[in-house]
Amino acid sequence: MEKELKKRIKKIYKNTQVEFPEANRMVIKTKQENLLPILEFLKNEGFRQLKAISCVDWIEEKEFELIYHLSSLNSPLHIMVKVRIGREDAQIETIIKIFGNAQIYEREIHELFGVKFRGNPNLSPLFLENWQSIPPFRKDFDTREYVKKKFGEIPFVEEKK
């Protein structure tokens, strides 16, 4: 069943690679312009649940990688659709027209990584308040430096003899 799916995807969409790294997992790597059509196609095949959206910061290759996790109630297959976008001025089209609950995941990624989703109505901060630095989950954000700058140097407590 999965091999059929792979054949059909590769026939329709160009610039796409499909792999099966482990049992019950399928990885589809594609480009930004094919993303919405592939997600529509998979939803019509029965993969109607969007479980999560993850983001990985590949700082040496200067790219962000977005991963969309999909699953279905009829089969044990778990599909990961991967897209790469550039790191400077990162933007991508939103998918809330296809999967409604993508809205909260996109809001989280916008706050923690700084990726803009065009068309999402509500991208206000979710966890952090009055945040003035760069988005904190990026690889060039140093947590120890931030703590020293914001809270001053707190001395280590010594045991009084």
Partner: protein, 630 residues
């Protein structure tokens, strides 16, 4: 009983129920309550509870592994000046900040000695926050804070009012995070190896070396114990990452003889290794040998070039470990060096001492040839005092280094001891001379490493020269098993090959037959070896005797240096310490100006690595002396 319970566990359909159902709870009014009244009724924590820390200060070595693994950086190592550490241990102890500790117990699982444990106490209430930073001890060293069952009260429980014998989570050797077993080394079995001089240890291949290097916990106690302070954890990390050339570079910063030391070093580092407390220590010596053997050409791997020439000339007398190291370090700084030695190749005592099954000649030549390729001039077969005079050397060269070592064997001086054979003669003739004919029953006097070498060599020669006949080699030593100075693995290997030991007996007289040949050795039982001040002064029981049959006796009780080449008036100026070693200052210079010394004539350890450490100090001293004069 089982079926009944399963009936009750079946899934029931939902019922709407009635309004009066809560009133059914009134029947519980007359049942006994299940809760209990803390603190008047007490319930002890379970046997594996993870509470406050306990530390045994006598077992703890201060290695710092607990501080390295804590995920919250809650442990810092604090210097305690009152502790006097043994060699290979530090005088630091862990201090824990309970504001950060999460009681995970990883520090217990990685402690190599098992001294850090968690107890079952968990109550501490205080106004001051400073009291939560705490140096954990236990009831052995801290009697005023630990109380027995009758005196302990839960109303006063705190970090300074703890209960005795209240351990909780302790370390268990099956579940530790480090691996206590070594990767086994392949060696030739005793039955096969005693028939020839084949090299006993076969060496690691690449995967075994990598797996062994993975065990290292990087605590750096070994670096403190090594007399030359090699960067051991760095070169082992390079082997783990597959970079043998980087590893060789790290070794050469302090020790230019890896192929020799990888086979015969005394390995003070392995005695101090943390993993050796409850398991087998890391095989540091064999990993050094693996690095030296896996690189065929040192010159291409290291790419070292000497500095531009300074125009100064240095003479080195003796091509032993200390002489070779001084030559290497000074040549890299740009001076021109000439090495004199009376043998026909480099290595000094290494060339004649350890037999072929421990140190083949090719291993020595590999290191010596690399040092020669840097531009050091070697003049072999040149004895100072006969082929060239010491005063001429002093006039011609800007500095002189004495690495002459101890070359004259000592004698027991009992009756007829002139019929016995000195150890160095036996070993030298056998290794690089014309060979030696042995008898069928040999007795070796001595208990040190040289005696073990002699005994095992004699055994092999007996099997090679009298194949199939009954032959025996015995040893006699003053020291008993617990203070025998030879290395433990040498004694074990000798026992496996069939050498018979007689510890605790001293030689009284060599018995001859009517033709003047040796018949045997008469021995006396030893009462004590050292006197109350620790000096060597053996005493005997005159009435207990034993007769050992022999047709050949070899004496291997120590060596002394040969200063005969130094002329009389210069020798009077040379100062000695009270242990009869040459006295040197912190730069390695003796009391004679321009003359430096190091090695067996200066230190009391009498092994190769201490000689190399002395050579490094002297090389810095010579360089300072030469560049300052200009």
């Amino acid at each position: 009983m089982r079926r009944n319970q399963n009936e009750k566990l079946k899934v029931q359909n939902s019922k709407k129920g009635s309004f009066l159902s809560p009133f059914k709870a009134i029947k519980f009014l007359f049942k006994k309550p299940r809760t209990f009244l803390f603190p008047f009724q007490r319930r002890d924590a379970s046997k594996r509870y993870r509470g406050f820390h306990l530390n045994d200060w006598e077992k703890c070595t201060g290695c710092g592994n607990c501080a390295d693994i804590c995920p919250n950086q809650a442990i810092t190592m604090v210097k305690i000046p009152e502790i006097k550490p043994k060699p290979g241990e530090k005088n630091e102890r862990p201090q824990i900040d309970y504001g950060r500790c999460c009681f995970c117990g990883l520090c217990v699982d990685i402690c190599p000695t098992g001294s850090l444990r968690l107890s079952r106490d968990y109550i501490h209430i205080d106004h001051a926050t400073d009291s939560f930073v705490y140096l954990p001890k236990d009831e052995k060293t801290d009697k005023e804070h630990f109380f027995s069952e009758g005196e302990y009260s839960i109303f006063k429980a705190s970090l300074s009012h703890r209960k005795k014998n209240f351990e909780g989570f302790v370390s268990d050797l099956e579940y530790t995070l480090f691996e206590p077993q070594r990767v086994p080394m392949k060696e030739v079995p005793p039955e096969e190896r005693k028939l020839s001089f084949i090299e006993q240890i076969l060496g690691y291949n690449r995967e075994e070396a990598r797996k062994e290097a993975e065990r290292c916990l990087e605590c750096k106690l070994c670096e403190e114990a090594c007399p030359a302070h090699l960067k051991i954890s760095d070169y082992i990390k390079a082997i783990y990452e597959g970079k043998e050339e980087e590893s060789l570079r790290k070794i050469f910063e302090d020790n230019p003889l890896p192929s020799i030391c990888g086979r015969i070093c005394m390995a003070h580092c392995e005695k101090a290794c943390s993993l050796g407390r409850r398991g087998e220590p890391l095989a540091i010596r064999w990993l050094k040998r693996y690095t030296a053997d896996s690189i065929k050409d040192y010159k291409k791997a290291l790419e070292e070039k000497p500095a531009p020439p300074t125009g100064k000339k240095v003479a080195v007398i003796g091509a032993g470990p200390s002489g070779l190291s001084v030559a290497y370090f000074l040549r890299l700084k740009g001076h021109s060096v000439v090495v004199f030695d009376s043998l026909d190749g480099g290595g000094g005592m290494m060339r004649i001492g350890p037999p072929l099954y421990r140190l083949p000649i090719e291993a020595i030549d590999k290191d010596v040839n690399y040092i020669a390729s840097l531009g050091v001039e070697f003049r072999f077969n040149t004895t100072v005092g006969k082929d060239i005079m010491f005063e001429d050397i002093l006039k011609e060269y800007d500095a002189v280094y004495l690495g002459i070592g101890t070359t004259i064997s000592r004698s027991t001086k009992v009756k007829n001891s002139e019929k016995c054979i000195p150890a160095l003669l036996f070993l030298r003739e056998n290794k690089i001379g014309k060979g030696f004919k042995v008898g069928k029953e040999i007795v070796v006097i001595g208990g040190g490493n040289v005696a073990m070498d002699v005994a095992r060599t004699a055994l092999r020669l007996q099997h090679m020269q009298y194949p199939g006949e009954k032959v025996i080699t015995k040893t006699v030593s003053l020291e008993d098993w617990d203070i025998m100075p030879a290395r433990k693995d040498e004694i074990e290997d000798a026992k496996k090959e069939g050498v018979q030991f007689n510890p605790g007996w001293g030689p009284k007289e060599v018995v001859l037959d009517d033709k003047g040949n040796i018949k045997g050795l008469l021995c006396m039982k030893v009462k004590s070896v050292f006197d109350e001040k620790g000096r060597f002064a053996p005493t005997f029981y005159e009435d207990k005797e034993m007769f050992l049959e022999a047709d050949m006796i070899i004496e291997a009780i120590g060596q002394v240096p040969d200063f005969s080449f130094i002329p009389e008036k210069l020798f009077k100026k040379l100062e000695f310490t009270e242990r009869r070693k040459v006295k040197v200052d912190e730069n390695g210079m003796t009391s004679i100006p321009k003359v430096f010394a190091g090695g067996d004539i200066v230190n009391i350890n009498l092994d190769a690595i201490t000689a190399i450490a002395d050579a490094k100090v002297a090389a810095e001293g010579i360089h300072k002396f030469l560049t300052q004069k200009a």
